[in-house]
């Protein structure tokens, strides 16, 4: 089998060397002005939504865990912007950015976190478990790496049915050390499944830095052990994400081959909002440096200002729109009702929910 392997992007290979301008790569050059603005709008939207949900969490409106995507926005926005009709996507619990990127509304997402009936899962899933199968978005999964075999399964189904799509399966840099993921890498390569695994390497799994969790810090290199193609790129520039991911996705669709993509990114906030200690396992300077030089919102904004797509006024306007939308979603969530108690035992079994004729036999639920 002839393969071309071990490509890293210029940016990842020669840190410090002159950055390639990914905005001029063909996949990005072909974007219309409106499409570029949409990318900006999405990245800003995710940022504003996350900021608003943080406030809601701090006000005690949101229960459980809240894993914010702030700092990583360009990854989900960039990759989802490349998805075609038959492409599917699945991710872990840091799932709000992907959800908004596929087109879920701020209202249904915020309401889900508030535990309301109007939430995307009627309040049954919460922050970590958003789903929108109608938008090819399969969650939202709380067990580290547990979603990776499911992602391979989506891709398996596409190939089985003769569809041309691919599946995008996201995971974190900590998740790579789960057995299920390594098993899945092998399976995907062995069976030539059109799945692209995207490691969102933000450098930390909770409070554990990459150095302290993975013996080989170049996570993408693991693909070699499975005869799988891989690439590494930066995640702060949406145009770089698009340029690199596009190749992986085309290859998956056209050749039915899996791909391991490692995207170097950064999260600004703690692991979850409950992680108040995140300045203990990393320095304030490290965070500030990333924000100053690589902020995904700022990077895309600079690109679009410099090529004349965007003006400061328009940027400001978009920003305000997204703030307002996020604010409105919090109001919507706040004013929405919680589900009635009768909802506790719906959505457990498909057959029960769809038994309109009352034909099912036997007891399904066991309460006194």
């Amino acid at each position: 089998m002839a393969t071309t392997k071990k490509k890293t992007t210029a940016a990842a290979k020669n840190a410090g060397a002159k950055l390639k301008n990914f905005a001029t790569a063909p996949i990005n050059k072909s974007l219309s002005k409106d499409e570029k603005i949409d990318l900006y709008r999405m990245i800003v939207g995710i940022r504003r939504f996350e900021e608003r949900s943080l406030r809601a969490y701090n006000q005690g409106k949101i229960g459980g865990f809240l894993h914010l995507y702030i700092g990583q926005e360009a990854v989900a926005a960039g990759i989802v912007s490349l998805m075609e009709k038959d492409d599917h996507i699945i991710t872990a619990y840091r799932d709000h950015g992907h959800a908004l990127a596929v087109g879920m509304s701020m209202n249904e997402c915020m309401a889900e976190m508030y535990g309301k009936h109007t939430g995307c899962s009627k309040g049954k899933g919460g922050s970590m478990h958003f789903f929108a199968p109608d938008k090819n978005y399969w969650g939202g999964h709380g067990i580290v790496a547990g979603q990776t075999p499911l992602g391979a399964g989506l891709a398996f189904a596409l190939k089985y049915k003769g569809s041309k799509g691919c599946a995008m399966a996201f995971l974190g840099d900590g998740a790579v050390n789960q057995g299920s993921f390594m098993e899945t890498l092998n399976l995907a390569s062995l069976w030539n499944i059109p799945v692209v695994f995207v490691i969102e390497n933000n450098g930390y799994s909770m409070g554990t830095s990459l150095k302290r969790s993975s013996a080989e810090e170049n996570l993408a290199h693991r693909a070699d052990g499975f005869d799988m193609e891989w690439e590494v790129c930066n995640g702060h520039d949406v145009f770089e994400v698009r340029e690199v991911a596009n190749r992986a996705m085309i290859r998956a669709r056209e050749e039915h081959k899996p791909f391991l993509l490692e995207i170097r990114t950064y999260r600004y906030r703690g692991h979850s909002v409950a992680d108040a200690n995140h300045e203990k396992y990393r320095t304030k300077e490290e965070i500030e440096e990333y924000k100053r030089t690589k902020d995904p919102v700022n990077v895309v904004k600079q690109h679009l200002l410099s090529d004349g797509t965007l003006t400061e006024e328009l940027a400001k306007k978009i920003d305000q729109e997204k703030k307002d939308e996020a604010e409105a979603s919090a109001k919507f969530a706040d004013e929405s009702p919680v589900a009635p108690r009768s909802e506790i035992q719906t959505d457990v079994y498909w057959e029960v929910d769809n038994d309109s004729e009352g034909e099912l036999k036997g007891t399904y639920f066991f309460n006194d």
Binding site: F131, L150, G153, L158, W350, K361, Y364
Partner: protein, 325 residues
């Protein structure tokens, strides 16, 4: 009616369902080219090829999860566990993703998979290969569990499981694979949630499932012949959903109940059944409900000891006599 083995009955079910629905495929270790570790899938790969019979590496977590993901897009995988014991390395996939994805999405998806394989002790393979996890499966709302005790049920329940739109675990039994029963040539389905009265009786109800139901039937015959006790034997077939009505109406008739299963007693299936009987038929009971389960320890390797550890005719008769006393 032709007499066929339990193994053959399951194979017929798989064969017919593969033919009926192009989305049905079988995956697992050694299921295709090797013809199955227990030869349940023998000949199917030769007949249907690589697309429908898929040999997997020894990666239960990955292929279980893959099957679940594929089912979200409409594929209907039948996942063979070489032993149901091996599903334990895939518990996150099966018990989190399999059972809860539908719920956590507020009903936006369903997971039509079947997980099947032998779940029994009694074969001197030691504790690691002798699990009977139907109680654990039934403890996860969203999952279904069936335990066929004979070839007829095995075929009919398997076909129902494959057509079901929820995840169903089919617990088979290696000690039954070679046993024969009458199975009609015509197509049939055994619905989930319907128990089977293997034998009618008036003095005592035995509730059981899987191979233990067959042992209970044997014990019931002996009890009738040698002790003059008329025993009714209820074979649950399906653990979740559960046919409560058949259990309760039998107990209301006989006023005594003995529950027999291969599970360990603590939080076994029969713990729940006992609760249901006392809750809903308390006034009908003339004596405490009794249980015969596996003797409460990991499975013994040595045949003589394991044969005593698991319910057998002698222990069932002993339990019945206590229930009658």
């Amino acid at each position: 009616m032709p007499l066929i083995t339990y193994r053959e009955a399951i194979k017929q079910a798989l064969d017919e369902e593969i033919q009926r629905d192009e989305n049905v495929c079988i995956m697992g270790e050694e299921v295709a080219q090797y013809n199955g570790a227990y030869k349940v899938t023998e000949g199917l790969w030769a007949k249907y090829g690589d697309k429908r019979l898929i040999d997997t590496p020894i990666s239960e977590a990955a292929f279980s999860g893959l099957a679940i993901g594929a089912s979200m897009l409409g594929i209907r995988p039948v996942v063979e566990m070489m032993f149901m014991s091996f599903s334990y390395v895939a518990i996150d996939q099966l018990f989190n993703n399999g059972s809860f994805c539908r719920y956590m999405s507020g009903g936006l998806m369903n997971v039509p998979i079947v997980v099947r394989g032998p779940a029994n002790g009694g074969t001197s393979v030691g504790a690691t290969h002798s699990h009977t996890p139907e109680n654990m499966v039934a403890n996860h709302p969203g999952l279904k569990a069936v335990c066929p005790s004979n070839a007829y049920d095995a075929k009919g329940l398997m076909k129902a499981a494959i057509r079901d739109n929820d995840p169903v675990f089919v617990m088979e039994n290696t000690l039954l694979y070679g046993e024969k029963w009458e199975v009609p040539d015509e197509e049939y389905i055994v619905e989930l949630g319907v128990a089977n009265i293997l034998k009618e009786g008036t003095d005592l109800t035995i509730v059981s499932h899987g191979r233990c139901a067959m042992l209970s039937l044997q014990a019931a015959k002996t009890l009738e012949e040698t002790h003059g006790i008329s025993v009714e034997v209820v074979d649950l077939r399906s653990i979740r959903p559960l046919d409560e009505e058949t259990i309760l109406s039998s107990v209301r008739k006989t006023h005594r109940a003995l529950l027999v299963e291969e599970n360990k007693p603590f939080c076994g299936v029969d713990a729940q059944i006992s609760h249901i009987i006392q809750l809903k038929a308390f006034d009908d009971l003339d004596a405490p409900i009794r249980r015969v389960s596996a003797i409460d320890a990991p499975n013994f390797y040595s045949k003589e000891l394991e044969d005593w550890q698991l319910p057998n005719e002698e222990r069932i008769i002993e339990g019945a006599l206590k229930a009658i006393a």
